[in-house]
């Protein structure tokens, strides 16, 4: 039986890495490893998970320097010389050990006007959106975002610009900008533009590279940039 050497961040902003030796198995995920540590080696370890099948995004953390879902990461795919390093998601304040505070991530979601505003009531006809309309196809992928925070944690602009809304919030705003039923478009554009908004993106594509659902916030952010440029040119901004 071989062993995996696992360095795990313990503590909060002040803390240190602690090393555990975990039995290595075939088809082992990083979530299996963390769970083993907490159940058999150190019950005080704090970490998050829920569905453990790649649907909820709760298990997101930094594995060997890269933000991933631990339930969807095979140890064999990431272990280097029989070792892995686990840390909480980047760009977010720490609560404890491997648990990051997601509040700011969701606050920015709200700040980017990520809420749908419609006008129809239950007494009206259903809105009709054809699946192959251009606007629909543009955001088809983007609506699949589950808000796991991996893109936010992978973005350098979030690190360099504390006010930057971030890829997830902007992607969400984009899906609403292209939603024909939504009526809060003008207000939303004003919320997502500027130095803390889409113009801060320099297309490094850390978000697109690391999104576990293979979404591309970069595409949505480019769309927001174009929408704002159009609004400047036609005077509506």
């Amino acid at each position: 039986m071989s062993t995996l050497s696992v360095r795990v961040w313990r503590g909060a902003e002040q803390g240190a890495f602690q090393t555990f030796d975990v039995p290595r198995h075939a088809s082992q995920t990083v979530l299996d490893v963390v769970t083993h540590i907490q159940r058999h080696l150190d019950a005080s370890l704090a970490y998050r998970f829920a569905c453990r099948v790649g649907m909820c995004g709760s298990c997101a953390m930094t594995v060997n320097g890269v933000a991933r879902w631990t339930c969807r990461t095979h140890v064999d795919a990431v272990a280097k010389d029989g070792a892995i390093e686990l840390a909480p998601l980047g760009n977010l304040p720490l609560i404890r050990d491997l648990v990051a505070d997601m509040s700011l991530f969701f606050d920015k979601w709200a700040r980017a006007r990520g809420q749908f505003h419609g006008t129809r009531s239950r007494h009206d006809e259903f809105a009709s959106i054809t699946p192959d309309s251009p606007a629909r196809r543009e955001v088809d992928a983007g609506i699949e975002c589950i808000g796991c925070g991996v893109c936010y944690a992978s973005c350098d602009l979030v690190s360099w610009n504390p006010d930057y809304l971030g890829p997830a919030a902007l992607n969400r705003a984009w899906t609403l900008v292209r939603d024909a039923r939504d009526v809060a478009g003008a207000e939303r554009l004003r919320a997502v533009g500027g130095d803390a908004g889409c113009h801060a993106c320099h297309t490094q594509m850390g978000c697109t590279e690391h999104c576990p659902k293979r979404l591309s916030p970069t595409a949505g952010i480019a769309g927001l940039k174009r929408a704002l440029a159009r609004a400047v040119l036609d005077g509506s901004l």
Binding site: A87, G90, L94, D156, Q204, G206, K225
Partner: protein, 115 residues
């Protein structure tokens, strides 16, 4: 708050960004010097010739070549950005980044051969 290190940045679009930014800053610093030097031509042909003699030095020629490479790198990186921001989205951004790098090398070579 944990910050990312190089491990999270090891992908083509990041390198393309870095090259684009560094080359841009270098060019922004070079440009005033370039303009000032050409302004010397106002003093007449003799002054200009003196300046041109200086540009024949190998170190200066190498710097010139470097500037051309930076310029082409910045240009092709910029074209990549314009494509990403204005054209319909495709998944071949890595190809764009590679094409930009190739173009920079090609022009650098052309300039080196011409020197």
């Amino acid at each position: 708050m944990r910050r990312n290190d190089a491990r999270a940045r090891n992908h083509p679009a990041y390198w393309a960004f870095l090259v684009h930014r560094v080359s841009g800053v270098a060019l922004a610093l070079f440009l005033p010097v370039h303009f000032w030097a050409l302004g010397q031509s106002l003093q007449g042909a003799a002054q200009f010739d003196g300046f041109l003699a200086w540009t024949a030095l190998p170190a200066v020629k190498f710097a010139e070549w470097g500037i051309v490479v930076l310029l082409t790198a910045h240009l092709s990186g910029g074209l990549r950005l314009l494509a990403l921001e204005f054209l319909p989205w495709r998944d071949w951004q890595k190809t764009l980044a590679a094409a930009a790098a190739a173009a920079a090398l090609a022009v650098g070579l052309a300039f080196a051969l011409a020197l």
